[in-house]
């Protein structure tokens, strides 16, 4: 029975966030129904995560998945993706919407990683060095992103997306053509046989799991025991990665309360009013984007050290799409996102990611159906979220027009 309640919310999602905003005006009219309204509003506000929770549970049942195995996979995915998703929060606060430009940050992170790999510096020290090197690179590209996006106010998301494609071209130009041809570099281990350009996949043995197992000298994070006859584990918990991610969450929630954070929120609320109040709008947006880009670079580093290999020319392409889809699954909108949206979103989205090929295999006899289904979900979630947001904005502005 409880499963059936949220299912109609698929169509109800459109009404849901609207319901979340109406009580502000509606409470004065109907005091009696306030409790019911409150419950409805809470349910409505969380309708997207609830829907995906139901979908995940159905998927788990259909795939007949071993829960231990699922949790093992999930811990890995949670630790390697959450940082990237968190890097989206600040631009949303500053009114820039979903920052599709984090792809550019991811490229900066990869550039730093290539440098570190080239010099063969490994371990936690190598990882830290890569993180350090990625800062100036991502600050510069983040600043460039901001210059472009400040020229396209009101179209930041589509511009950010195209900027990602454009930057991908420049990235390939540097690492596939110029490297070894104009930029002197000689390293047969990571370069193509012709001596020009990097290989398609680069092995990151030196740096593999450097952060995940950074605290191995204290505890290696292996969880394996039995409760009665039920086996629990084996899970491997990447302690340091989770600590770093949690630290970022703390820093972000601290940043929101600072003066800068308040300025960002003011800009996010209304650029013109912020401008009148004496806030330098373009500067605030630039800072938000630079922070986001640097965080995305680090996020990509965390992602890659967990994977252990890098697809030089593909690893970064889907970073934006998947991070954004995960955040939206967690119940965020293009104007409001919290740390919990990010965490819940990563868990739900990646549960579906693990489950859907297996479910597809069992239901349709081919895993491809499930694979296409999860891609469809990623794109579909973004499309629905964007459409909902734009529709609400239009309804709101229409109401304001009529009110005035």
């Amino acid at each position: 029975m409880p499963k059936k309640v949220p299912t109609p919310t698929t169509s109800g999602t459109s009404a849901a966030p609207a319901a979340g905003t109406t009580p502000a005006t509606g409470t004065t009219r109907k005091q009696a129904g306030i409790n019911l309204r409150k419950i409805g509003a809470t349910l409505g506000r969380n309708s997207v995560p609830i829907f995906f929770l139901v979908l995940s549970i159905v998927g788990i049942i259909a795939a007949d998945l071993d829960i231990n195995n699922l949790i093992y996979e999930l811990i890995g995915r949670l630790s390697r993706n959450t940082f990237l998703v968190l890097s989206l929060l600040i631009p949303i606060m500053a009114g820039l919407g979903l920052n599709f430009g984090i792809v550019v940050g991811a490229m900066a992170g990869q550039a730093a990683l290539i440098i570190v790999t080239h010099y063969g510096i490994g371990g936690l020290g190598g990882f830290a060095l890569a993180a350090l090197i990625s800062v100036p690179i991502s600050m510069v590209v983040g600043w460039l992103t901001a210059v472009v996006l400040n020229k396209a106010k009101g179209r930041e998301m589509v511009t950010g997306m195209i900027l990602g494609f454009f930057a991908n071209g420049v990235y390939q130009l540097i690492f596939l053509v110029l490297l070894g041809w104009i930029i002197p570099m000689n390293n047969p281990a990571i370069m193509l046989p012709s001596g020009i350009g990097l290989k398609n996949t680069i092995d990151l043995i030196e740096i593999s799991n450097a952060l995940d197992r950074g605290l191995d000298f204290i505890w290696n994070g292996l969880v394996m025991f039995d409760i009665g006859s039920i086996p629990v584990g084996p899970w491997r918990i990447p302690i340091l990665t989770l600590v770093v991610t949690a630290l970022l969450a703390v820093v972000i929630s601290f940043l929101i309360r600072t003066r800068l954070g308040q300025q960002m929120r003011a800009v996010g609320q209304d650029m013109h009013i912020a401008e009148v109040a004496g806030i330098n709008v373009n500067r605030t947006r630039t800072i938000a984007l630079i922070i986001s880009t640097v965080l995305a670079a680090w996020g990509q580093l965390i992602f890659l050290q967990n994977m252990g290999t890098m697809n030089t020319y593909n690893s970064h392409e889907q970073v934006g799409t998947f991070a954004i889809a995960a955040l939206l699954v967690g119940g965020a909108t293009t104007r409001k996102a919290t740390i919990w949206n990010a965490v819940v979103g990563v868990i739900l989205f990646h549960t579906l990611f693990i489950v859907s090929p297996l479910a597809g295999q069992r239901l349709f006899g081919t895993p491809q159906v499930g694979e296409y289904f999860r891609v469809f979900l990623a794109y579909g979630v973004i499309a629905v979220a964007l459409a909902l947001h734009a529709w609400q904005a239009k309804v709101k502005s229409n109401r304001e027009l009529r009110g005035e």
């Binding site: 472009v148 020229k151 396209a152 106010k153 009101g154 179209r155 998301m157 589509v158 511009t159 997306m161 195209i162 900027l163 494609f165 454009f166 991908n168 071209g169 420049v170 390939q172 130009l173 596939l176 053509v177 041809w181 193509l192 012709s194 020009i196 350009g197 349709f364 081919t366 491809q368 159906v369 296409y372 289904f373 891609v375 469809f376 990623a378 794109y379 579909g380 973004i382 499309a383 964007l386 459409a387 947001h389 734009a390 529709w391 904005a393 239009k394």
Partner: protein
């Protein structure tokens, strides 16, 4: 009115530049020479304004490539012939951008919606074992009602999200392509030449059109231009088909409905006050674009020789968008001539880049990479430029 403004601007800029450059020389030189320089400067800056920066860059690129091709004694005839084919092949997809821009919806990033309809038409036409022109026109006939319905639904959605059409359109296109991949996998089609060899279900990634309607337009009335060693193949049918649709669209914009649509795009308030149904015009524009997308992909496929399913249509909107922007269109205004100019410039560049670069670099592995990278940078750079140009809605 805007023209006079541009003129004034152009003159201003030109004289400024000129003053800087000639300050040292102007005393020594005769008054007439300075005046002449000033005129040239003004003319140049005016030309730049009129011609547009992206178009200028692309033209320069293209000229460099053609000069290189001549220097390296490449087969110009086949280069230009291939380019012509490529232009006709993509022309309709570029043309599909015009109705949406004109009716004020902007660039149609959701072109895959139409493309998918065309692919469905093509697939079912093939599954009926129809060949030649019958196959091609049945495919179009099947795609038409589908694309009208899809276009209407898509227009309905875009109406609701006014202001964010491009972003929503992109992701609606993406999700439809991904969703249709599931349909291709489970489609009830039994033609053994179309489905996977193993498993007995699911359409192949690319369907060969050789025995169906591959090259049907390209070969129609095709002839060779031969001047000495220079041999150039002209795909007459393809160009005629593209030309036909250009003329049809041109005539449409001279009609009552077309003029109303132009009014809606350029000044919605004015259009509404003169009794034009804005909503209906936007729907008409989106439906027209979707239909053109559907026919466009069939034209593309018959020329290419393959029907590409699954993820192939995912990024197909972007080259078309880049082409029309290179032609000089903006997010608000587009004409048929811009479609033709843009297609010719952009697709000739794409077609000639690969062989020329490969010849110049003497078959080194970098060649293929460079031209693909150049495509990415030019295509997305052009779109980026256009997006950062116009002020807020």
């Amino acid at each position: 009115m805007s023209n006079t403004k541009l003129n004034a601007n152009g003159n201003g800029n030109g004289s400024d530049l000129d003053n800087n450059r000639t300050q040292a020389q102007v005393q020594a030189q005769a008054q007439g020479a300075a005046g002449f320089l000033q005129k040239v400067g003004a003319a140049v800056s005016e030309f730049m304004k009129w011609y547009g920066v992206p178009r200028l860059i692309i033209t320069c690129f293209l000229l460099v490539l053609i000069i290189l091709a001549i220097i390296y004694k490449m087969d110009l005839g086949s280069l230009l012939g291939d380019s012509l084919t490529r232009v006709g092949m993509n022309g309709l997809l570029v043309l599909a951008m015009v109705p949406t821009i004109t009716c004020g919806v902007g660039l149609n990033f959701g072109l895959p919606v139409g493309i998918i309809c065309g692919l469905v038409g093509g697939v079912f036409s093939m599954s009926m074992d129809l060949t030649g022109f019958t196959g091609f026109f049945v495919a179009i006939a099947l795609a038409l009602p589908l694309s009208v319905i899809a276009g209407w639904l898509y227009g309905k959605l875009l109406e609701k999200v006014a202001g964010q059409e491009m972003m929503v359109g992109t992701y609606v296109g993406f999700s439809i392509v991904a969703g249709m991949a599931i349909f291709w996998l489970t489609a009830p089609i039994k033609n053994p030449s179309m489905i996977f060899a193993i498993g007995g279900q699911g359409l192949r990634y690319t369907l060969t059109l050789q025995d169906y309607f591959g090259g049907i337009l390209n070969n129609f009335l095709a002839f060779d231009i031969v001047i000495g060693k220079f041999t150039m193949n002209v795909p007459t049918g393809l160009l005629l088909f593209f030309g036909l649709f250009c003329v049809l669209l041109y005539l449409f914009f001279r009609s009552r409905t077309g003029l109303a649509m132009l009014a809606v795009g350029s000044n919605p308030q004015y259009a509404a006050s003169s009794g034009v149904n804005i909503r209906r015009m936007r729907y008409t524009g989106v439906i027209m674009s979707t239909v053109l997308g559907a026919i466009g992909i069939l034209v593309y496929a018959q020329s290419y020789g393959f029907l590409q399913l699954y993820n192939a249509p995912l990024y197909m909107a972007f080259p078309a968008i880049a082409a029309i922007l290179i032609g000089g269109a903006t997010l608000r205004k587009a004409t048929i001539s811009q479609v033709i100019i843009g297609s010719v410039l952009f697709f000739t560049l794409l077609t000639t880049a690969l062989p020329v670069v490969q010849t110049v670099l003497d078959g080194s592995e970098v060649g293929g990479g460079i031209s693909e990278i150049a495509r990415m940078i030019i295509q997305n750079g052009t779109i980026l430029y256009a997006l950062t140009r116009v002020g807020r809605r």
